[in-house]
Amino acid sequence: MAESFELICRECRRRWGNAPRSICEECFSPLEIVYDFESAKPRISREQIAAGPPSIWRYASLLPLDAGVPPSIPVGYTPLVEARRLAARWGLRHLYLKNDAVCFPSLSFKDRVVAVALAAARRFDFNVVSCSSTGNLANAVAAQARREGLEACVFIPADLEPAKILNTQVYGARVVRIAGNYDQVNRLCSQIAEKHRWGFVNVNLRPYYAEGSKTVGYEIAEQLGWRLPDNVVVPMAGGSLINKIKKAFGELTTLGLVADKPVKFFGAQATGCSPISDAVKNNKDRFDPQKPSTIARSLAIGNPADGNYAAKCIRMSGGWAEDSSDPEIIAGIRTLAEDEGIFTETAGGVTVAAAQKLISQGRIHPHETTVLCITGNGLKTTDALAGEFSMEPAVEPRLLAFEEYLGVTLAPASVGGC
């Protein structure tokens, strides 16, 4: 190949060079990026990566980037935190959280994929970037487009959480609300992308965009001290992330940066939108689409484009999939906040609750190293917690009033410890 990477059909393996396209015109299947790692291998080392910036760009040589246009936004390299209290609650020894609730700049893992997609948009000379989104992606596109000097026009389901709409509008992006669910928005964007020369990050730039997800996997391995975990629990919407983490681990192994090791992949969905976990649990080779009904709006994709690949990835790894009901999602959010001080959005609640089920089923073993992918920030979905907490009456700004308040709300023995 002329460059060190190019498009390849995931089914018939025909190669397509580099262009803004996402389907193989021979067999109509999705395209992905293939790399020439053999020639790159001598230049890639742990030391070379560690000397790079504290962002996803430390892995630039493993991403589909045009060498002439260095990216400028310091996205990713989020904390991998050991979750000791949660581990104790669940009876595990080695539990970690990959905390993309604090991903720069828009507080979700979508910043990673958008950063790589906008690099492709610049390469292909798009002036307008766009996406269909359940919220987080729109936030990321709007924020990064502004920094890159691109126009952004994003499409969302009309009834999305107000915070996610505001978090897109504030960057000056045009927000087109569609009177339909995400799958309908998605289909419309496929049609728009055929007619307008816009860079849709998750349509015509999708193969490049999706590669950004690999950085979650690279970071997990590097932050574990260049080793792979035994288990990864990943939320699933379109089903792309779980496959890309697997691809990342495979590349690190191929490059000799980590020792080869079997990793089990576990997928988490909301019960109200669970086509992939249903396919895994019932051993279907093709998922059945669903009409989403869940508070986990960022995972509400009833017709996941990578759903069959995700189910296959899970099965082949010896993992499993679970789904979480709305009350379980809320409990998951609260557990993570109360045990680990991390406030995640509903998708994170799905992951925590599903992980708890997988552990209680004995599918995740206590002595193994397990990583939960927390993909978004709780401040974006505060509506989901409405009614969970009561507001106490205001206390007068006088010491006597406060002591009365303590007398009402605390047992006397605990007062002295304040």
Binding site: I23, F28, R187, N202, P235, N303, P304, A305, A347
Partner: protein
């Protein structure tokens, strides 16, 4: 009875560039057979080796995924607008 079928860009090389064609099938299997008969080169792009509709091809009837309408058992109504749409995009994780 007539229905209109919208042809995605990638398939228009099989339809002499037509973006929409009229068909008269009763059900989805009839529609595939009619398209394959009229546009033989399109056949391999509609079905996989086992004869099933390709997994990355979504079929919509008047905005609704045909799988929610009964799939192969759905009986087309006069004036139905059918869209063939590649399954490519995806929003979140």
């Amino acid at each position: 009875m007539k229905i209109s079928v919208e042809i995605p860009t990638a398939f228009r090389r099989f339809t002499n560039g037509a973006s929409s064609v009229e068909c008269g099938p009763a059900t989805l299997p009839d529609l595939l057979a009619e398209l394959e008969q009229r546009f033989p080169d399109m056949a391999q792009h509609l079905r996989d080796d086992s004869g099933r509709i390709r997994q990355f091809l979504n079929i919509y009837v008047n905005e609704e995924d045909i799988r929610f309408l009964g799939g192969e058992t759905y009986h087309f109504q006069d004036g139905d607008r059918v869209m063939l749409v590649p399954s490519i995009a995806g929003g979140a994780c």
